[in-house]
């Protein structure tokens, strides 16, 4: 039993239950019918046999011995013949069936002619009943019992057609039940609240329509919450920016003291946190940026130069060539976030472009910093992730850089990969579609 595996799909399970149930019920009624028919037919046959045989024996007994051979042939029936004489000797029959036949013939003749029943050798389905008529001459009844219930040739075909019909109905019912479920799962899988795809079809049986309507309503709610999240963050940031600007300007107006410098640094920190939060909230929504074909070499160079111009050690390694179609602002932000991290933890960064064998372009930012423990590489891309001990002013920040990069990468159809380099340091890569 353990060898039989319960099928994995609901479709197969329901089909199996329905089909097996129907087939067993069908087989049961078929069997009951057969038994009933067998019993009736047997009763009928034995009844005919005992009456006819008893009458025939009585007729032969009354006839003069010379007349008997003329009638013997006429008294025979399909399943028995009368033979004048001893017949063929055989073994005494011991079957219950034979004894029953003999007893009933004896009873019908008023027990005047004791029967001895023998099976003829060689032929299994042949019995011979021996008896002596009242004048002492022997009589043999040659019985060839036919199958009590001949099965019509067309019956198996009817059975096959019925089975096929059963299977078809079961399959159709299962499909009716499971198809909407499949559609629902597919809709949930492709659910993207940012994109207003077509709503799920709310027609069909009432349960299905209800589920579809509930799903559509849930999708609306998710989209609404996401929108609300962005709006709240934007509102907070806007409301914060005015007081931050005021404080910043007041600090600028104040005398040049170490306290003032500290205030300016704190304000810059707050400002960056606010901006990271906004950028993260926005990166979940696809920006309105259009894809353009950009020249990779100048694109990477311009990023490196912008860093070099403010005195940061960022260089481009290897030869970059070719073009890609992408959203340049999003891609620039992703690479800038990688570079910012590298500068934060390692002090310098190296940008490199590799064309993969499958035609994909991979832009990698390498550093020689402490890297990230292998078991935390995945967690590093979650929002608000920070390495232990990095909560200080030098390397602080909201921990949103990689999360923003990942969301933006998804919006341009790419993917972010992190791995530790042999010899120490981190490689952050964006794989372009």
């Amino acid at each position: 039993m353990s060898g039989l595996r319960w099928p994995a799909t609901l479709r197969a399970r329901i089909f199996l239950i329905l089909f097996v149930g129907l087939a067993v019920a069908y087989a049961l009624s078929f069997t009951v019918l057969s038994i009933e028919r067998y019993l009736t037919a047997k009763e009928l046959m034995l009844g005919t046999l005992e009456n006819d045989v008893a009458t025939s024996i009585a007729v032969l007994d009354q006839l003069p011995a010379g007349e008997r051979p003329r009638f013997v042939g006429r008294l025979g029936r399909g399943n028995y013949q009368f033979v004048l004489g001893e017949g063929v000797p055989g073994a005494p029959d011991t079957s219950r069936h034979g004894a029953e036949i003999a007893a009933r013939i004896e009873a019908a003749t008023g027990h005047r002619f004791p029967l001895s029943l023998e099976t003829t050798p060689g032929d299994v389905q042949r019995l011979q009943a021996h008896l002596s008529l009242s004048d002492g001459s022997p009589l043999t009844i040659d019985i060839m019992p036919r199958g009590v219930m001949p099965v019509a040739d067309w019956l198996p075909y009817v059975f096959i057609v019925q089975m096929a019909l059963l299977m078809l109905c079961a399959w159709y019912a299962v499909r009716q039940a499971t198809r909407p479920l499949g559609r629902l799962a597919e809709a949930a899988e492709t659910l993207d609240p940012n994109r207003r795809g077509p709503a799920l079809d709310e027609t069909g049986p009432s349960e299905v329509a209800h589920a579809a309507a509930a799903f559509n309503a849930m999708r609306e709610r998710i989209a609404h919450y996401l929108e609300e999240r962005v709006q709240i963050l934007a509102a907070i940031s806007h409301d914060l920016q005015t007081p931050i600007t005021r404080m910043r300007l007041r600090a600028d107006m104040a005398d040049d003291t170490p306290e003032r410098d500290k205030l300016v640094r704190d304000l810059a920190e707050i400002e960056r946190l606010v901006q990271d939060g906004i950028a993260y909230a926005r990166s979940a929504h696809s920006s309105g940026e259009k894809a353009t074909r950009i020249d990779l070499s100048s694109f990477i160079d311009s990023i490196a130069y912008d860093y070099q111009d403010i005195g940061k050690a960022v260089r481009v390694s290897g030869v970059v060539s070719g073009t890609v179609a992408t959203k340049p602002h999003a891609l620039r932000r992703i690479i800038a976030n990688f570079v910012d991290n590298a500068l934060k933890y390692a002090g310098s960064a190296e940008i490199s472009v590799v064309r993969g064998g499958d035609g994909r372009t991979v832009i990698a930012v390498f550093d020689r910093g402490p890297g990230i423990p292998d078991d935390r590489l995945e967690a590093a891309m979650k929002p608000f992730f920070r390495l232990e001990g990095s909560r200080n002013r030098e390397t602080g920040g909201a921990g949103l850089g990689l999360a923003i990069a990942q969301q933006l990468a998804a919006s341009i159809g790419g993917a972010v990969r992190l791995c530790n380099r042999p010899g120490g340091g981190l490689a952050a890569e964006i794989v372009l579609p």
């Binding site: 934007a234 940031s237 806007h238 920016q241 005015t242 931050i244 600007t245 005021r246 404080m247 910043r248 300007l249 007041r250 600028d252 107006m253 300016v264 304000l267 400002e271 901006q275 906004i278 920006s287 309105g288 940026e289 353009t292 074909r293 950009i294 020249d295 100048s298 694109f299 160079d301 311009s302 990023i303 130069y305 912008d306 070099q308 111009d309 403010i310 005195g311 073009t323 340049p328 602002h329």
Partner: protein, 252 residues
């Protein structure tokens, strides 16, 4: 030097339009402290009323304002009789869309809030310098325009070059600023001091690349041969000249 004799010199008059009272007052007093004239307006209505009676050299315009926002006001100014007055936009967030929109509406530069007062002052001066050096036939701040020269087109909103096939060639910030100075002053010999002066604007204190290095980088971007340059020619012991005619291509 010029601050000591205001009666003799022209003092630049800046109008600050911002809905936050403290910010406009702080800015105004900072600019005054640094030798500029400053006036304030709280909204579009006050701005219009002020401009009826006064002339200003530059308008600092906040984008996020109740009523008519900065973008609307900017477009209005550009369409009216103040179309030559430089505008510096203060965007409420460091948002790419705001920046692009602002530049498309005709702002000359933008600054994201919060900003350092020093940075604003540097930007104001850079914008004033740039607009004054412009030849009259080349009006700055034409909405959403693309400049064409030789084999190239320059997208002044996206801040990149476009080649014949329409592929975007990115420029670093410094490269863009230098190219912008060249295309704003075609066929004029500019010496290194002038170039440095004009290129400085944003991140003025952080800019430490020599002009010669920048020019060679720019030539590389333009596919220019340093020995026989087509676009940026070297004028011995004087400086550089952008020797290709510029065409304004309107593209929306």
């Amino acid at each position: 030097m010029e601050n000591e004799s205001p009666s003799m010199e022209h003092v630049d008059h800046i109008l600050i339009v911002d809905d936050d009272r403290e910010i406009r007052e702080l800015l105004s007093s900072y600019l005054k402290k640094n030798g500029l004239r400053a006036s304030i307006a709280a909204d579009g209505r006050q701005m219009r009323a002020f401009l009826e009676a006064n002339t200003v050299d530059l308008i600092v315009l906040d984008v996020m304002m109740p009523g008519d926002d900065g973008l609307v006001l900017c477009r209005e100014l550009r369409a009216g009789r103040h179309k030559a007055t430089p505008i510096l936009m203060l965007t409420a967030r460091n948002d790419e869309m705001d920046r692009v929109l602002g530049l498309e509406m005709g702002a000359d530069d933008y600054l994201a809030k919060p900003f350092a007062a020093r940075e604003l002052l540097a930007r104001i001066k850079a914008v004033l310098r740039r607009t004054r050096m412009l030849p009259p036939n080349l009006q700055i701040s034409e909405a959403g325009r693309i400049l064409s020269f030789g084999d190239w087109r320059l997208d002044t909103v996206g801040r990149h070059l476009l080649d014949r096939e329409g592929t975007a060639i990115a420029l670093s910030g410094a490269e863009y600023r230098l190219l912008r100075v060249f295309v704003d002053h075609p066929q004029r010999v500019l010496n290194r001091d002038q170039l440095l002066n004009l290129t400085q604007g944003r991140d003025a204190d952080l800019f430490d690349r020599s002009i010669d290095l920048l020019v060679s980088r720019l030539r590389q971007r333009l596919g220019d041969d340093a020995r026989e340059p087509l676009y940026i020619k070297t004028v011995r012991s004087e400086g550089y000249v952008f020797s290709v005619p510029i065409e304004i291509v309107e593209q929306r």
